[in-house]
Symmetry: C2
Subunit: 238 residues, 2 copies
């Protein structure tokens, strides 16, 4: 089973949007996929609400909610408990749950909150690969070096986990002069770590989310859908 | 002394951008202002790096860094300690520091990280007023009701603190159909809680940040500068 976590302690960089579309994209490409929502805010869970089908086949485990063909969701553990910050995470139990899915699921995609606390670290402990979405803007660049050193720490603490698969530029607005400058900086500073795919800004992604659907369902020929198709193709082969 | 905190556990909604421009705007309008960076990521601290002037008059306290005329920064307590999540916050010490500034500072503006943990709560304990920036998009709406009930809890726990001054729509893109729909939903559902000012999407705000300057310095006649001027005018009178 392949396992990929979306992590970045900077907020609003497209972690949830990328997690949903990687998961749905892999399922459309024929893999059996579990999307795990480790953000107590539960944005990934609500963003696919419009796709849930009552009559879809149940998953290999009762916690898994069917979302689309070959795509299941493990909804956020958050909800009421989040108010008081009480929601805690039982990483051991999650690891046992994931181990039990070997052979039933081909790909695990995990969404995390914007912080490297017990929720953020749990995501990295569960997955072998990490994709770090970054907005082509200043604050994200500032936080990126911190994110990279958190991943180096993770590799030591949890051998075989948290290997950086690549950094993904998101919400790139070709009209913004700064975005071009930052993309050049990124490919210069990160050398081989930058993914080839660039996700352009597209309001269809915002609209799809407000309908609780993936963009592949809501507007399959949009710029956002094409960008994420390209990402799935880049990641699916290795 | 007036005290305003920018809070929302949803990431990337414009907390830091709004904190910087409220602080600089109040200073330009003649108030003596302290911008306090309570986010260990320290984005507010780096975003005004380009404005720091060596020869500006020292502030009323040695921790305060002069940024512009009548504007000082209390830099983030984060830095190295954040890697391991060790940075902790001594709220008692911060409250004593703020109390000591009475008569020296007219306005305190506090930036917070995207979470209601010890850092998020410290910001609310320090301030009488809260402004909640929201992006006109789906995930922000979903988190808003959680944010509102956190504020109700805060009002009980810390009497006189954390009173909602208003909800501020940010990064509004008039081309996105969804944004108009959500703005209508917001003013319908929130009745008197929505501020009159709307902050439109403007790449000048992104560019200003990458130069470490406020938009009032970087591009004073931009859409972003005009929006934030309007916000300062709406808030300064009450
Ligand atoms: N390529 C894009 N074009 C336009 N809007 C986008 C794009 N990607 C994401 N968005 C929108 O930007 C906002 C932030 O994205 P998202 O919530 O996925 O980020 P996140 O990193 O998961 O945030 P958080 O840190 O709160 O978890 C959302 O409204 C989303 O719909
Ligand atoms: N009105 C706007 N138009 C265009 N870009 C904006 C606007 N406001 C903020 N931004 C950009 O959007 C990104 C997110 O804003 P910002 O970092 O202020 O949000 P935040 O809520 O403080 O994020 P975090 O949750 O990580 O603390 C930044 O790149 C910022 O420059
Ligand atoms: Mg998210
Ligand atoms: Mg911020």
């Amino acid at each position: 089973m392949r396992s990929i976590v979306l992590a970045n302690q900077k907020g609003g960089v497209g972690k949830t949007t990328t997690a949903i579309h990687l998961a749905h994209g892999f399922a459309l490409a024929g893999r059996r996929v579990l999307l795990m929502d480790l953000d107590p805010q539960g944005n990934a869970s609500v963003a696919v609400q419009g796709m849930l089908s009552e009559d879809a086949p149940k998953g290999p485990h009762e916690w898994m909610v069917p979302v689309a063909e070959r795509l299941w969701l493990l909804p956020s553990a958050g909800g009421e408990a989040v108010q008081s910050g009480e929601a805690t995470i039982d990483t051991g139990r999650l690891q046992a749950f994931v181990a039990g899915l070997e052979g039933e699921i081909d790909v695990l995609i995990v969404d995390c909150p914007p912080r490297m606390d017990e929720w953020g670290w749990a995501g990295i402990q569960l997955c072998e690969e990490v994709i770090v979405p970054v907005q082509a803007e200043f604050f994200s660049m500032h936080g990126l070096s911190q994110m990279m050193s958190s991943l180096e720490q993770a590799a030591k603490r949890y051998p075989g986990k948290g290997k950086l698969r690549g950094v993904l530029p998101t919400m790139v607005d070709t009209n913004e002069a700064v975005a071009k400058e930052i993309l050049e900086d990124l490919s210069h500073n990160l050398k081989g770590l930058l993914l080839n795919t660039v996700i352009f800004r597209d309001s269809c992604l915002v609209e799809a989310a407000s309908h609780g659907q993936s963009v592949f369902v809501h507007s399959p020929w949009s710029k956002g859908a094409l960008c994420y198709t390209e990402l799935v193709q880049e990641i699916i082969d290795g």
